[in-house]
């Protein structure tokens, strides 16, 4: 007879939550499940209104009093610890959240109707796509350039080190707004851009600056170079966090330099790089709104144009905010799974994903809801 069956029977109702028995066998799976079922049973008791229920308390007391000469606790039932203050705290917070939600829903000045009307309007969705495009392009290019700059900074060549250092120094000390305007007005500084050999008349190709630097090009250029300066430092920090012994072991094994970087060092550096890198990318999503100075119609600029026309300032800002929340949420989910992927080997056992947690939660509750003794694994 399986011990789990006994437990499930006893967990059927709140009143009988105190009669469960832990199994005597060494079957750890059965023990875990039994404990889970007991927990579920007593949770049911709490929801029935007996906070810190007396049944459980007296049960524990009698258990201590009945201690026999043979201290074999295997036949004792387990009463989980009660946390009354946790319930009080939960209630207070829930009340606060409900209050805020109520005011958001019922205050007419939020003008939810207007929000709904604009949320998926074509001009706004177009602006949103531009924002996503700018973020993706300058994010990817920025991190690639940043990676190269980080490698330069860590190289043995003093020239490469100082070029990389100067790049980061300049772009981190200039306001992004100024960089944007400079790039956009490059035509004023240099009428033509040409590729050739310096100090000679050899020119491979020449172009009018104003044709080359469109609003889009200026935006991408500004955001990318700025992003590269910051990501270079993030990536460098990540690489430095990897133990020197790893590189030594890899070169002792004859693994070529490029492979050492990409296969041995980078995957380990990723753990340090990722949280900060996602911070940067999420910052970049909203940071793209700075291109309004170029009258570039991404999400935020579009919103401004519309509310200047319709005077519905708050609802339209709410539209923009909601879209930024959506993007950030999606990115956060990505971040969670990518970080999980790179924590392979770094933690002894991978934590459960939210999905797996939910499944487990549901299965436990299904157990406690199931009043019959049919408990299967």
């Amino acid at each position: 007879m399986s011990p789990t069956t006994k437990v499930a029977q006893s967990a059927a109702g709140p009143a009988s939550a105190g009669t469960s028995t832990t199994p005597t066998t060494g079957d750890t799976d059965a023990v875990t499940e039994a404990a889970a079922a007991v927990a579920a049973g007593s949770a049911a008791a709490v929801t029935e209104g007996s906070l810190g229920g007396s049944a459980g308390a007296s049960g524990g007391g009698s258990g201590a009093a009945n201690r026999g000469p043979a201290t074999d606790y295997a036949e004792y039932r387990v009463v989980p610890a009660r946390h009354p203050w946790r319930w009080v705290g939960t209630a207070v917070v829930a009340l606060g959240v409900a209050g805020i939600a109520w005011s958001l829903a019922t205050n007419p000045r939020w003008e939810w109707g207007v929000v709904a009307q604009w949320f998926t309007a074509k001009s706004i969705v177009d602006g949103l796509l531009e924002t996503l495009k700018l973020t993706a392009i300058s994010g990817i290019l920025g991190f690639i350039l940043g990676f190269i700059l980080a490698l330069m900074r860590l190289s043995a060549s003093p020239l490469l080190v100082s070029v990389s250092w100067t790049f980061s120094w300049i772009f981190r000390s200039t306001p992004l707004l100024v960089q944007m305007l400079l790039w956009y007005n490059l035509g004023y500084l240099y009428e033509k851009i040409s590729l050739g050999i310096p100090f000679t008349d050899v020119r491979f190709f020449e172009i009018q600056t104003t044709t080359l630097i469109s609003q889009f090009a200026a935006a991408v250029l500004g955001l990318t170079l700025n992003q590269a300066a910051y990501s270079a430092e993030i990536i460098r920090g990540g690489i430095l966090s990897v133990d020197q012994g790893q590189l030594e072991a890899a070169s002792a094994l004859g693994i070529p330099a490029w492979r050492r970087s990409t296969r041995i060092v980078l995957p380990q550096a990723m753990r340090a790089i990722l949280p900060t890198a996602f911070n940067e990318i999420i910052g970049l999503v909203k940071g793209t709104s700075i291109v309004y100075v170029l009258a570039y119609s991404e999400l935020f600029y579009t919103i401004q144009v519309i509310y200047n026309r319709t005077q519905q300032v708050l609802p339209l800002l709410l539209v923009a905010t909601l879209w930024y929340v959506v993007i950030t949420s999606v990115l956060s989910v990505f971040q969670y799974y990518i970080e999980r992927y790179y924590s392979k080997g770094a933690v002894r056992t991978l934590p459960l994903t939210p999905l797996q947690k939910a499944c487990r939660f549901l299965s436990i509750h299904a157990l406690s809801a199931d009043n019959s003794a049919k408990v299967t694994r």
Partner: protein, 286 residues
């Protein structure tokens, strides 16, 4: 433990070690000097280890043992003297009467002939035990031998993990293994390139006492396999057991070398005697 000890000689006799030529794994170290800043760490070391020989280097902390090992596979460049493996200089090429420093690619090639096992294992934590073992044979440039395909490397990796008694942990990550198991994976990893020479830098000093023997048993097996071994260790009993030559180093110099009998039982030098009187417990009868 006994499983490992009995497995290895049998396994090494068959797979892995090609017919040992007469000059396979001869190590000649000649007047090697090395300084870090103003500190001279190696002060003219001369040492020859015969092919298939087992040299155990002992000596007080800071005497330059690790540095000497690291110069053998060119992880440290020497400031003077030279090191040759089977008559070929490590890290340099002779052209006429000049020495040209080798390019990285050729140094890597030389290193694949010289396996190294570190005190703190240095396993790649994000790769499984098997991936640790199969990484180098697939990507490292080897002289005279083609790179292995992934499938070949895998087969060979499992064989090697079996040899160190860890076939069933092939999929485990290093942090999921005990220290002794990690060091055995590290040994399998070094063996994967079929090196002529294996360097061990205090392979057991990061281990709990009860894990030491499982690693030493593996090394004992290797000592019989015909691979040249150079081992830095503080395990004197093991040294006496396994060594052909014991080398005592102090302050960047070789004070004395000879058979374990000579060095442990009747050392000629006073310094050697005083060192052993400190490190060897009274229970260890010579």
């Amino acid at each position: 433990m006994s499983i490992i000890a009995t497995d290895i000689p049998a396994a090494t006799g068959g797979a892995g070690v090609p017919a040992a030529g007469p000059t396979r794994g001869l190590v000649e170290i000649t007047k090697v000097r090395k300084s870090f800043g103003a500190v001279e760490v190696l002060k003219g070391i001369t040492l020859t280890v015969e092919p298939g020989g087992v040299a155990v280097i002992v000596g007080p902390s800071g005497s330059g043992k690790s540095t000497l090992l690291r110069t053998i596979n060119h992880l440290e460049k020497v400031d003077g003297g030279f090191i040759a493996i089977d008559g070929t200089l490590v890290g340099y090429e002779v052209r006429g009467s000049t020495l040209h420093e080798l390019r990285e690619k050729d140094v890597l090639k030389q290193r694949t002939e010289i396996g190294m096992v570190f005190q703190n294992f240095n396993l790649f934590p994000h790769l499984t035990a098997l991936e640790n073992v199969t990484e180098a044979p697939v990507v490292a440039p080897r002289s005279g031998k083609p790179r292995l395909s992934k499938a070949q490397a895998r087969e060979r990796g499992l064989e090697l993990l079996d040899r160190v008694g860890l076939k069933d942990r092939a999929g485990a990550y290093p942090r999921q293994l005990s220290g002794g198991q990690q060091q055995r994976v590290a040994i399998a990893r070094a063996l994967a390139l079929e090196p002529k020479i294996l360097l061990f830098d205090e392979p057991t000093s990061a281990l709990d006492p009860e894990l030491v023997n499982e690693v030493l048993d593996v090394i004992r097996g290797l000592a019989k396999s015909g691979t040249t071994l150079i081992i830095v260790t503080h395990e004197m009993g093991f040294a006496r057991d396994v060594a052909d030559t014991v080398v005592f180093m102090d302050q960047g110099q070789i004070v004395e070398q000879g058979s374990p009998q000579d060095i442990f039982s009747n050392p000629r030098e006073e310094r050697t005697r005083s060192f052993f009187s400190k490190v060897i417990e009274p229970a260890f009868n010579i």
